[in-house]
């Protein structure tokens, strides 16, 4: 089995932190790389949108939106009934698992590009769409009484968080500018994408290693849930992609989106909406368990299954 080169950077960061090495990754650079990746992914999707724009795409968008609402509703009862978590924390973790991870998506894109597998280039639109619904569902699950829900705040946190805004902004700019105008900024946003992703994954490896140390504190349930939920979400995402009739690459991307969970947009939104929730549990599950699982085990496994079951 050959490991993708960007994943090796993740392993380097993970092992280095585990061995207590002192790699000092600047916080500003990490934040800059997040901005870069969100914009680069959005621009790429926007440039391809004109080519794919059709009625079937609108149906797909609606179905993907519904998928984003369903995922936290699957995670929530598991966390409440089996994890014995209180309503606020269960809703908070469910929101993380209903949303998506741009970094996991970027690793899946790098995986496809390393194997020269084609995929529907409008996928960043789905990434942006899937970021928001889970936040709204999570807040509604936590605050059952309608009077305590601040609709304005809810909409603000769901639709105007950094991830959604930059992805949608990138898609819009890419769509309006078109491939010809985008060629002038391609040396930054296209050519440097894999290198920036590798650097970002080095930082992610460090963060994941730090978070996985908290697993002892939160128990084995979080580890088990963090592995089970991506398998459920991935299966549903794969079935949805199959029902759309997507290409092999597109099926892998929607499977990966279903399997991934947020750790940038959702924690930021939920810490404002549910300040009493313990963000540590959710971050440990998403960054310490699910992200490494998807990057190291999930993506090659999903591809192997999709390739042999649906496309061979």
């Amino acid at each position: 089995m050959q490991i993708d080169i960007v994943v090796v950077f993740f392993l380097l960061g993970f092992i280095a932190t585990f061995l207590k090495s002192d790699i000092d990754f600047p916080e500003g650079l990490y934040k800059g790389l997040v901005l870069f990746l969100l914009l680069a992914i959005g621009l790429k999707g926007g440039a391809a949108l004109e080519q794919y724009f059709s009625a079937s795409l609108i149906i797909q968008v609606i179905a993907v939106l519904a998928f984003g609402f369903i995922l936290p509703l699957i995670a929530y009862p598991l966390l409440r009934y089996f994890g014995l978590l209180d309503r606020i924390n269960a809703a908070n973790i469910a929101a993380h698992y209903g949303s998506v991870s741009v970094a996991t998506y970027a690793v899946a894109v790098a995986f496809l590009e390393s194997k020269s597998i084609e995929y529907e280039a409008y996928f960043p639109l789905f990434v942006a769409i899937l970021e928001a619904p889970a936040i709204a569902v999570g807040i509604l699950l936590a605050k059952r009484r309608k009077s305590s829900v601040n609709v304005k705040g809810l909409l603000h946190e769901s639709l105007l968080n950094q991830g959604v805004l930059l992805l949608f902004g990138g898609v819009l700019i890419g769509w309006l500018a078109g491939p010809q105008q985008l060629a002038s900024i391609a040396p930054l946003f296209k050519d440097l994408f894999h290198g920036a992703l590798a650097l970002f994954l080095l930082a992610m490896g460090q963060i994941a290693a730090r978070q996985s140390k908290h697993l002892i504190e939160y128990g084995t349930f979080i580890a088990t849930f963090g592995i089970l939920m991506p398998l459920i979400g991935g299966l549903l995402g794969g079935l949805l992609a199959w029902s759309f009739g997507l290409s092999e690459g597109g099926t892998l991307l929607l499977t990966t989106l279903g399997a991934s969970c947020s750790y940038i947009a959702v924690p930021a939104a939920m810490s404002v909406a549910l300040p009493q929730a313990n963000q540590g549990i959710a971050i440990t599950a998403s960054l310490g368990v699910t992200f490494p699982f998807n990057v190291l085990v999930g993506i090659p496994l999903y591809y192997s299954l999709i390739h042999k079951l649906l496309f061979s």
Binding site: F82, T220, A223, T224, I227, L228, F293, L301, S304, L305
Partner: protein, 66 residues
Amino acid sequence: MSLNRTQAFELFTSLLILLIGSCLAYFGYSSWMLAITGAALFVLSISRVLRRSNRRNNTGEAQHAN
């Protein structure tokens, strides 16, 4: 040894992941890492259950001796 709901879930899920990973690997899919993940989760879960059970037994014996 009695299991609570969370422990039963952990053991069942880890065994299921181990089983799915092993079966898929047997049929030629790249899933041996999934099987290893399931096995690791199972070991973690069972060791936690056994440790808790031992602790309970020790407490019971100590109370009985008193």
